[in-house]
């Protein structure tokens, strides 16, 4: 059974169709990079995977559980799927430690000591142990994003979704976040990642999905995608972002 199955998904904002007939899947341990021009629906698609965005057509299954089905316990499903956002979305009124423990305590029912212990271990892993007592506003963007990854990992997710995790960061902070993500890949985490970091895709992705105007135009193994992408649109896109 694939970890994530996306079958013929269609989504509309009123009359406007944002996703058209999207189909793909992510196997356990696979790393999928989703790229495409802005407005191509890649962020929308990844938000559909954990039900943050509703969709009107098709099916998405996470470990066999249908995301869109009314009977599905969405909070429970989401607690197993880690998500990292473009703008970090740490909770600004909580300390870093509280950010790392709130989900564990309120959702997973862990006790405070256990949650703090786990949170601090993960903080150590992303190299920010010394900042545990601080508030998100006191950290740099790259540091905040690393905390956000640790926050998602604290829930022991079965897979991780990344929605443009580095596109709101200053250039010199991008690598510290990508390093953490590469480390995760090495540990075998299943990942679906919307990003324009083609270096990252080249290094760790198994497959690359290219989207344009709400459609999956290209869904190819990394070697094929960077070698000879079939669609003209993907070729144009690649030549533009790899130019410099």
């Amino acid at each position: 059974m694939p970890m994530i199955e996306i079958k013929n998904v269609g989504k509309w904002y009123g009359e406007f169709q944002v996703l058209t007939d999207c189909t793909t899947q992510v196997e356990k341990g696979e790393v999928i990079v989703v790229c495409g021009p802005s407005g191509s629906g890649k962020s929308t698609l990844i938000k559909c995977v954990n039900g943050l965005e509703p969709f009107q057509q098709g099916k998405i299954l996470v470990k066999g559980i249908s995301v869109g089905a009314p009977a599905t316990n969405l909070p429970k499903l989401r607690s197993q799927v880690g998500m990292v956002f473009q703008h970090f979305e740490l909770f600004p009124h909580m300390s870093i430690t509280e950010n790392l423990t709130i989900g564990q305590i309120k959702v997973l029912g862990r006790n405070k000591d256990e949650a703090t212990d786990k949170g601090l271990r993960l903080l150590d892993r992303v190299g920010l142990r010394a900042h545990a007592h601080k508030f998100p506003g006191e950290l740099s963007g790259g540091q905040q994003q690393r905390v956000a990854i640790a926050r998602a990992l604290a829930m022991d997710p079965i897979c991780m979704l990344f929605d443009e995790p580095t596109s709101a960061l200053d250039p010199e902070m991008i690598n510290e976040v990508l390093d953490v993500m590469v480390e995760l890949v090495r540990e075998g985490m299943t990942m679906m990642c919307v990003t324009h970091e083609m270096g990252f895709a080249r290094k760790v992705a198994n497959r690359v999905i290219f989207m344009d105007q709400g459609r999956i135009v290209e869904d190819a193994a990394k070697e094929d995608f960077f070698g000879t992408p079939r669609s003209e649109r993907a070729q144009q896109f690649l030549s533009k972002i790899l130019q410099h």
Partner: protein
């Protein structure tokens, strides 16, 4: 020339006439604030939901309350409740319920703005961790909304304190009433009303200075 004489307003007179009224005004303000913020937050959440059957009654309630003069609400509630329940409620209790219900409409608009000031991504982050709607509101959105709106909520409470003087309409014993009775008994109404005005001014002005201080200290979280 005005021939004013404040000599009769001794500490004994103040404590026997005014203190009781002051404590009631204070109690009314605090209770109506706590109850009003709680009910107002609920109304705000209803209006911000996606369900028409929650939005419509909350909107109707808020718009109605905000379109009627407070003094009429105070009067009508005081007169209508005995008719409906068959027994009088007492001016003080009636005032507390009325003020809570009335102020909730104003606090709900403040809380609505506060909740809307929190970026949607915060809600998404709460959901993504597996929190329910209730948990996301309680743990993530409302604490930030309260913090952002604290100066406005307190300013509304200062207005509420001034408005408590309207309970004169149903004869409740508040701060103003205390002065009024003292003035009648000593036949010095002008002096007592003057002092009453000064007392209201000092309380409200110093409170708004405090709110300004607070405002400077709390940076709005975005």
């Amino acid at each position: 020339m005005l021939n004013l004489d404040f000599a009769f307003l001794t500490p004994e007179v103040l404590s026997s006439y005014v203190l009781k009224g002051f404590l009631f005004s204070l109690q009314l303000t605090v209770l109506a604030m706590l109850g009003g913020v709680a009910l107002g937050t609920l109304l705000a959440l209803m209006r911000l939901s996606s369900k028409p059957w929650l939005i419509m009654p909350a909107a109707a309630y808020v718009n109605t309350m905000r379109s009627i003069p407070l003094v009429m609400v105070i009067l009508w509630f005081f007169l209508l409740i005995p008719l409906a329940t068959g027994r009088p409620l007492g001016a003080e209790t009636s005032a507390m319920i009325t003020f809570t219900l009335f102020e909730a409409a104003y606090y709900s608009e403040i809380m609505r703005a506060g909740i809307q000031s929190i970026p949607k991504g915060q809600v998404a982050a709460g959901y993504a961790l597996g929190m329910t709607y209730g948990q996301t509101m309680r743990e993530v959105v409302l604490p930030q909304a309260f913090r952002n709106m604290l100066p406005v909520l307190l300013t509304q409470t200062i207005i509420l304190f001034q408005d408590t003087s309207l309970v004169y309409a149903i004869g409740a014993y508040d701060l103003l009433k205390g002065f009024e009775i003292a003035g009648k008994n000593f036949n010095r109404p002008v002096e007592t009303y003057l002092v009453a005005a000064v007392v209201y001014f000092v309380i409200c002005f110093s409170l708004s200075m405090l709110v300004k201080q607070l405002q400077r200290r709390i940076a709005i979280i975005r």
